[in-house]
Symmetry: C2
Subunit: 203 residues, 2 copies
């Protein structure tokens, strides 16, 4: 019953990550999920659009579990967690050999202008992501300079990571992402107190 839904969602997620939403046809999903026919698919989802929304939600939940979770580890120093999180993004990208980009960034670029329904949902995803980093930064504020704007820094981190993943995908070269991730850490380090000392230390 629900099993089949999950099967469809997984197949769709893989296809959408690979070729985008528009270029993934319902028939492709049906083949990928080994369904019998179209009515079988439409028995579980009322439209392709709705499938896309659910896939996006599931992708974020997976990302929240696998990537974002480290941000909340209570036993690790907050800034250390942030560094580990960035490493995690690099590792996640390495899994696909630098080919697949961020599922959110991909959908954003593809559909932000064309499809308002997706746009608001993707916006919500980035919002939740940013608020996770934001609250970590808030937690780390004793270690940060007084004038650090947590919201703004969160956005910078996300934008840079998304951009880096995109560049990596275009160049098919993971070292691009690794370099940018390292620089991003240095930028974050720039915001901790006593920047003169910590700036160049590999925290």
């Amino acid at each position: 019953m629900q099993e089949r839904r999950v099967q469809i969602l997984d197949a769709a997620a893989a296809l959408i990550a690979e070729r985008g939403f528009t270029s993934t046809s319902v028939d492709d999903v049906i083949r990928g999920a080994k369904l019998s026919g179209k009515s079988h698919f439409y028995h579980y989802f009322k439209s392709k659009e709705e499938l896309g929304y659910e896939v996006l939600n599931r992708q974020f939940e997976r990302f929240a579990e696998r990537g974002l979770a480290i941000l909340r580890e209570p036993m690790i120093d907050p800034l250390e967690r942030l560094s580990l999180f960035i490493d995690g993004v690099v590792a996640l990208q390495a899994e696909s050999g630098g080919r697949r980009g961020s599922p959110f960034g991909n959908l954003a670029a593809e559909l932000a202008d064309a499809h308002e329904g997706f746009r608001v949902r993707i916006e919500a995803v980035f919002e939740r992501w940013a608020s996770q980093i934001g609250s970590l930064l808030w937690e780390a504020r004793p270690m940060l300079q007084d004038d650090v704007d947590a919201v703004r820094l969160s956005r910078f981190i996300i934008a840079t990571l998304e951009g880096a993943v995109l560049m990596t995908r275009v160049k098919r070269d993971l070292t691009v992402l690794e370099g940018i991730a390292a620089d991003l850490k240095r930028f974050i380090a720039m915001h901790v107190r006593d920047a003169e000392q910590t700036e160049r230390r590999p925290w």
Copy 2:
């Protein structure tokens, strides 16, 4: 003669920037360029794909003239030029009200995985862009710290800008881009000699 080609290319560029390459049909382009019929279009371009390649090239040439040109102004201090360039990217994005993203980033996200022909051309675009910034950085090396890696810093700048434009498009909020652009300048300032003094100065 060539006039019509230009007409078609302009119409196609506008449509592709707005809805992406895949979602722009040849018929849309024909309507946009006010052509009589399909054969008229195929008289000038042998395929939609080839049209896409030419549009991409033209977009980069326009960007080289309007955006990248400032990087080569000989009468301005190199780092000042870089700052002006970043302002230019923000201004360019402001023209479309933060809606349209980077034409390269959009195509990259849409086609990098699916279409190798586009991927290599987009890669070349970013390569040329990066080399422009790289040579500016090389020119500015007396003012920079010794260990600055020009190639790497160029990539960071481009990735961050592309990511910022994408986020801006998703959020429909130009202030996102403005904030990230300002932070990016601070990151660059971090690489100039005597960073303690210049770091927080709005150069």
